[in-house]
Each structure stands twice: as structure tokens, then as C-alpha cells.
């Protein structure tokens, strides 16, 4: 059963997205198929060049780059949200698939989860 974990909160302002990532990593640890879907302001997780030193946090951009190593199958992003927040081929991190119809994507997963 493939799990889709949805992140709709921008990075750094709350811990919710990181806890979504922990959920994805633990499913992957047990070889359970899992993908991440970024919607709304959550797509800002996927922007290159994050420098969170000044707010004393670790870079979610760097954390996220470990996802494929751990076995997270796909990083999906809502295309309209990417457009809205100015994410293009030039500033999107590697390995992200933009999807046009998130509703259709959502239908394909038996287990759709928000971390909070």
C-alpha cells in the first residue's frame, strides 16, 4: 500500500513539515512505498538556495535531499502552487515532479496523510 504524505505548510515556521518528513523516512525504513506531495505554500520546501543559519535551523533543503537515498519514491509538487510561488526549472531542487491535477493524484493513493 503506497502512502502519500502531504506537506502544505511552508518550511521553518513550524515543525509540522519536518514531522511529515520523519513519517516518510520511517515508512521507507520499513520498505513501505511512500511519496511526498507538496501543495500550497508547502512547495517552498522545494526551492533551491535556502540559508536558515540566521534563524538557527537546519536546512530542510538538505534534509530533503536525503529522501531518495532512504527510499522515498517520489517528490511531487502541485504545478499551480509552484507557479504561484515562482518556482521554475531554474530554482526547483532536483528530482521533483510537478503535477497538474493534485485531485487525480490524491485518488491514486490508499493512504493520504498530513502530519498535523
Amino acid at each position: 500500500m503506497h502512502t502519500l504524505i502531504v506537506i502544505d505548510q511552508p518550511p521553518y515556521g513550524s515543525w509540522g513539515g519536518r514531522e511529515s518528513l520523519d513519517m516518510a523516512f520511517s515508512l521507507a525504513a520499513f520498505d513501505q512505498p511512500v511519496s511526498l506531495l507538496f501543495i500550497d505554500a508547502g512547495v517552498l520546501w522545494l526551492k533551491q538556495g535556502q540559508e536558515p543559519d540566521g534563524i538557527y535551523q537546519k536546512s530542510v533543503e538538505r534534509n530533503l535531499a536525503a529522501a531518495s537515498i532512504f527510499g522515498v519514491e517520489a517528490l511531487l509538487a502541485e504545478a499551480t502552487a509552484c507557479h504561484r510561488f515562482g518556482l521554475t526549472d531554474n530554482n526547483l531542487i532536483n528530482g521533483v515532479t510537478r503535477i497538474e491535477n493534485t485531485g487525480t493524484t490524491l485518488q491514486q493513493y490508499q493512504h493520504v496523510v498530513f502530519s498535523g
Binding site: 523516512f25 520511517s26 521507507a28 538538505r62 537515498i69 532512504f70
Partner: protein
């Protein structure tokens, strides 16, 4: 003996205090004599941490990360268990001077 501050489980309090000498000392407490094979994994883990700002959060993910980097022969729990007895991810992080894993899984 180099004086570095460690927590009650032997992890460095200050990651920048890590040297290869410190690594040897920590390893010797677990009766591990660091070989080339150990150093390969230790330096890999340190590189992984630098790149991703996290250690693999569980043993299983530690094995996966090593497998991704070095292939099946080294990316398996038996090999890593032999090098780093106990809980390999924890033992290896301790020797590599990385933070104590959160026991997340």
C-alpha cells in the same frame, strides 16, 4: 588522553572537537580497533551529515545509505554490525562525532 566533553552515552557535546585521534579513543572504549573499513564508513557518515544535516535516523536507513554509496557488499546489516557492534548507527555516529540519534524508530 585528549580531553573532550562527552555526554553520558559517550557522544561529543561539541561536534567541532572531533579529530581522528578522538575517534580512535571513542572506538577503543568499545574495543574497536579502527581499520580502513571503519574509516571508510566513518568518513562517509561525516560527509552524509555535512551534506544533509542529519544522520540516518535509524539502523535500517543507515544500512540503506551505505548501500546507496558502496553497494550491497557493504550496505548490509551484517557487515556494519561486524564493524560497529551493538546498534551500528549509534556506535558509528558516536565514533564519527555526530549527534546522538533520536531513537526515532
Amino acid at each position: 588522553m585528549t580531553m573532550v566533553i562527552r555526554n553520558n552515552e559517550g557522544f561529543l557535546e561539541d561536534a567541532s572537537a572531533w579529530t581522528t585521534e578522538v575517534a580512535r579513543e571513542i572506538a577503543s572504549e568499545d574495543a574497536i580497533d579502527l581499520s580502513e573499513n571503519h574509516w571508510e564508513i566513518i568518513m562517509f557518515l561525516r560527509g552524509f551529515y555535512k551534506e544533509h544535516e542529519i544522520s540516518p535516523p535509524s539502523n535500517r536507513l543507515f544500512v540503506k545509505a551505505v548501500k546507496e554509496a558502496f553497494g550491497e557488499a557493504k550496505g548490509n546489516s551484517i557487515y556494519l554490525m561486524q564493524l560497529f557492534p551493538g546498534t551500528p548507527a549509534k556506535t558509528a555516529c558516536r565514533i564519527a562525532g555526530l549527534p546522538r540519534p533520536t531513537n526515532c524508530l
